[in-house]
Symmetry: C2
Subunit: 216 residues, 2 copies
């Protein structure tokens, strides 16, 4: 059955999942890329970015590779799609990922500002959803069929779905870094009261740990 999942989502030792001062130069916030060192070194990441068969094959890579399996639709917040805020000035911004984004399925982008769907190479179609997380989920379910729906981020989007208790599972990657500031993933949320528990943990290679949270 189709699941709603967060996979390979990094968090710092002090609980942040994005650094402060996100911008065009710092899409993950200042210091944010340090949280993804474990991912940048994987074979999965390097293959996605045209680096051939370089990269490390390790536990981090196994999690990375699995996170792209059986995904029928993605949901992401607008800040994960790009640095543009407010109404779209034009349609020139087409995401961070170039002509052929690594999704290859429909991607539902949460935004307050309507925009026509954007078809990219390789099967990725960005749909801009103005009706909030419920509409995005409903449309993603229709698009995904039996396959899973993966929420890419960012933090605010994940927190909205968490607070609504809608996730089936979350795979968090604890990165061995301190960010000190930024967007906190869990602050003010009581995941235990929402019915989640840690059902699995594994040692990372460059990551400090991989942990799986699921609904009881």
């Amino acid at each position: 059955m189709s699941k709603l999942r967060v996979l390979c989502f990094s968090t710092s030792l002090d609980g942040f999942s994005a650094g402060p001062n996100q911008s065009l130069e710092h899409p993950l916030g200042v210091g944010g890329p340090e949280m993804f060192e474990w991912f940048f070194h994987t074979r999965t990441f390097q293959a996605m970015h045209g680096c051939g068969d370089g990269g490390e094959q390790c536990i981090d890579d196994e999690f990375a590779a699995r996170s792209f399996e059986n995904v029928g639709a993605w949901i992401m917040g607008r800040n994960m799609f790009g640095p543009v805020r407010g109404p779209w000035p034009d349609e020139s911004w087409q995401g961070w990922w170039g002509e052929e984004p690594p999704y290859h399925v429909p991607v539902f982008v949460l935004t307050h500002h309507a925009r026509a769907p954007l078809t990219m190479k390789g099967g990725t179609v960005f749909h801009f959803v103005t009706g909030g997380i419920d509409e995005a989920l409903q449309r993603a379910r229709e698009a995904a069929g039996d396959r899973d729906i993966r929420i890419g981020g960012g933090v605010s989007t994940i927190r909205q779905y968490l607070q609504a208790g809608l996730f089936d599972d979350l795979h968090l990657v604890v990165a061995p870094v301190l960010l000190g500031a930024g967007e906190h993933l869990m602050q003010g949320l009581d995941l235990r009261a929402l019915g989640y528990e840690c059902t699995e943990h594994a040692a990372g290679h460059r990551a400090a740990a991989h942990v799986i949270l699921q609904k009881k």
Copy 2:
């Protein structure tokens, strides 16, 4: 040279180091003991509590055993010493640990309420310090000599020393549990700005990960 250290201090996946509603029945707060499952199963813990040579010998146990080496003095907050709040009604409370506490060196207890030193079996002497974290540290340094000073907890005590940037290193144990509420270890502290970084991480056995934070 003598170091100021936090060792084997547990934190939940959502960043809490004590559960809510601490009391005589729940010295670690509700749900708190789940964070210490990794410790309860070690040979080190079981030997300390008279269970002979039972317990697991694993990476968690190695960290636990090492955390008691070369310690010349401890510092702890009053809530780690006991559940009594406000002025001491009498001297009947002698700590959670029975006649022979597992410290075997001077222990400096931060409190607002003066009390005569308390000598226990096995070399532990509890000294009650009313002059705050600086006085406790000074007295612990004198007592420890060349050996290290270990801060046992609780959260509030560690946060005070963290904020003052006084630690040499912190060994945190990321427990594979969600607490949902309680005392947050790092909230509102910018450890990165205070000069700390993660210098080492290791897979846990029952713990999700062991991480070492040190001053640059």
